[in-house]
Amino acid sequence: MATDDSIAPKRPFRWHILVFLAPAVLVYTALMIFPLLSTLAQAFEGKEGGFVGFGNFATLFGDPRWADSFWNALRNNVWFFIIHMLVQNPIGIALAALLSSPKLRLRGLYRTVFFVPTILSFVIVGFVWKLILSPTWGVAEGLLDIVGLGDLFQPFLGKEETALTTLGLISVWQFIGIPMMLIYAALLSIPDEVIEAAECDGVTGFSQFWKIQLPLVLPAIGIVSILTFVGNFNAFDLVYAAQGAAAGPNYSTDLLGTLLYRTFFGYQLQLGDRSMGSAIAAVMFLIILAGVSIYLFLVQTRLRRYQF
């Protein structure tokens, strides 16, 4: 490895550096970097191998059958992401703010409880909510009845108009622990002097949170947003567990992840297609790369970091 030459020319070759680095670099290169590059390369190959240039991408965006399912999945994915940004992050911030308020009792208990959904697997979460929302069992209907909203009940996961939003909210329920914890940690790291200075100036309560604390945790909110973005555009498990690979009803909950799965492995009558699967993976790669770059170059550099 070229990187292991020593700087001082007379020093003997330092084998221990190679020994320390080798296992991690080998496993990482063989099972992460190589497969990623290889998948990207196969996106330019035909079904029987051979270079076809942008042929697969032309099919993906040009052939109406492929283009329709692709844009449908992308649109759903964007909506899925918007739900997370609009619901998960504000609630996460609110919970973190409540938890970080001084002299709160039972803080540890609340924190532990709020994080419980996050440790459960998608399979559990998907099925549990499927059962709860099921009209056969009627738990959700019964609960709505108690608060007098029984008429609002519908088979939320079974209807095209509501299925995707419902799944998005289930996913929010599952992952809210992560933004809550990260923002909570950021709030705790604000030094007491800043808060005390604000109180001396008469800035207290809600306006203190809005004007002092929130601006100071913006970097944490930025991290949460990009984590949410990468997680959402890579999501598969929850839809698969709750609605199956077909992402029903009528593909209304299809995300890029489930589309990739169906394309690569085939589904019912449709055979698996390696090169089209790679093409979809390549497009997902570009989307995630674009999101991460926007975050790194635009958001990250403009956020002011406060050093205490």
Binding site: I7, Q42, V123, L131
Partner: protein
């Protein structure tokens, strides 16, 4: 803080909001576990009631034990998770030590190369990962899963651990060198014990996604002998969809061990998140 005034109504309102959300977070788990101990009619008649002498039944668990091999699935999940954790932490710590301790040409580049994987999900390489596993005959083995999870866990592990290793005192390491210790002894005997809290943080972070993953078990190791709990529960529930007792029991069996482990380690987990990720 001296001037924090929390009036009674305000504190009541705060607790009301927190309790309300706690109910939202726990309710689904509660409903499933409670109903898994009830007989079929009681599940439908009064889903929110606790099981009593009349409605208590373990029939769901009996079906699960007869029909699904959950003990084996647990064993598989445990092997995969523990082995991946050990490799992620060990290899990660070794690489982090090399990057933070020694100055050599390409150090920065190597650090960047290894950090790439933090943002790019390994799933996008699935097509080629499957080909590699088929070519090496590792399909339907636990080794395949362990290798993939190790690769995907390493970037974050190296990143976090090298931050911590920079804080280990140079004097200590140099004292060891003067006493004639080899670089390997310095790493294993002096440095590793000092970064143990950071290693625990990495372990907890890596553990949850590995235990819960459905994608790679489904694709790389779907055979009966190598199913993990997550995949086993998924398939079992798919087969027994109308047997509500069995489904609820299978879900509870998948929830309870994770829940118990979480309650034991929750302090560590929360400390890990609040110390490592943001600051």
């Amino acid at each position: 803080m001296s001037s924090a005034r929390t009036s009674l109504p305000r504190s009541v309102a705060m607790h009301a909001a927190l309790i309300a959300y706690a109910l939202v977070a726990l309710f689904p788990v509660f409903v499933v576990i409670v109903n898994s101990f009830k007989e079929r009619r009681a599940i439908f008649r009064s889903p929110l009631a606790l099981p009593d002498g009349e409605t208590f039944s373990l029939v769901g668990y009996q079906t699960v034990m007869q029909r699904g091999d959950f003990l084996l699935y647990f064993q598989n999940s445990l092997i995969v998770t523990v082995a991946s954790l050990v490799l992620v932490v060990l290899f990660g710590a070794m690489a982090a030590f090399a990057l933070s301790e020694y100055r050599f040409r390409g150090n920065m580049l190597m650090g960047l190369y290894l950090a790439l994987g933090i943002m790019i999900p390994i799933r996008l390489g699935t097509v080629a990962i499957l080909q590699v596993m088929v070519a090496s005959g590792l399909v339907n083995t636990l080794v395949a899963l362990i290798l993939v999870y190790t690769a995907s866990g390493l970037p974050l592990s190296i990143f976090i651990l090298s931050e911590f290793m920079r804080t280990v005192s140079d004097d200590l390491k140099n004292a060891g060198r003067i006493d004639g210790l080899s670089e390997y002894t310095i790493f294993f005997r002096l440095v590793l014990p000092l970064v143990r809290p950071a290693m625990a943080t990495v372990a907890v972070f890596t553990m949850i996604p590995i235990w819960n993953d459905l994608w790679f078990p489904l694709i790389l190791a779907p055979a009966e002998a190598t199913k993990t709990v997550t995949l086993g529960a998924q398939m079992f529930i798919g087969q027994f969809q109308t047997d509500w007792n069995a489904v609820l029991a299978a879900l509870s069996l998948a929830i309870i061990p994770v829940l118990v482990l979480y309650l034991i380690f929750s302090r560590q987990l929360i400390r890990g998140i609040t110390s490592g990720a943001v600051k």
